[in-house]
Amino acid sequence: MIQNVNKLEMKYMVMKYTNGRAQTMKLCEIKDILKAEVLCGDEFLENEVSYAFGSDLMSDVLAYVKGRTILLTGLINSQVIRTAEMADLTAIVFVRGKRPENDIVNLAKQNNMILFTTKDSMYTASGKLFCNGLEGINLD
């Protein structure tokens, strides 16, 4: 617990000294933090994201998320990939060890996306990324 608080304090210090700009995180770091497996898109592991958004509600993703954001979700149907495509999202983490069917992975490949699966739950995966400095999106 104390360790986590210190990490959070560190994060806010970093935020302060970067003029409030969000820290970016490389996708390979996210892979390590979540002990995630890459389902497709290995070639994008060096890319960076600025924010994360966790939701099983694609309507919320369409309404609020934009740019350089990684999506965490427990849904594995093709509409997750379509939603990401429309919102210009290129990185998705499936939580609770969920794994989409091959045709859904192929749809992601066609759209140059990187897909991960982690055994962590939504809450745990989100908490780990937040503690390591990856912020949520601004809702305004």
């Binding site: 369409l62 309404a63 849904l75 149907n77 495509e85 210009d88």
Partner: protein, 143 residues
Amino acid sequence: MEFMKYTFDVEKDDFVRAGEASSNIKRTLRELGIDSAIVRRIAIATYEAEMNIVIHSVGGQVELEIDPNSIKVTARDRGPGIPNIELAMQEGYSTASEKVREMGFGAGMGLPNMKKCTDRFTVESVYGEGTTITMEILLKAGD
């Protein structure tokens, strides 16, 4: 840019192909070199409209029209129509089935989000006949 028009069929309950029309429209706009923020707004609004046809209607079409001043998307279905448009426009109001909600839709955000993403937005519906949603983004020089 000349006037261009494309039409895509959308089938009811076809959740595998749902999104293909929007995907084609997004690709077309990107290939024309339209500003990426505008492409994103049109793609999201079109996808919401396409999902509505799949979820709520007996089938329909999505039409893309491009001219030098604007990009217009018309989503037209063959019924059944919306009994109360005012109610349907309220955030959070939805008549979607449990199956649709399990897929991450049916939160009652579709119509308000289409309106938010576009410069001009109209819904016309006759219950028993069908619904037509018209969405337009105006282009400025350089878009």
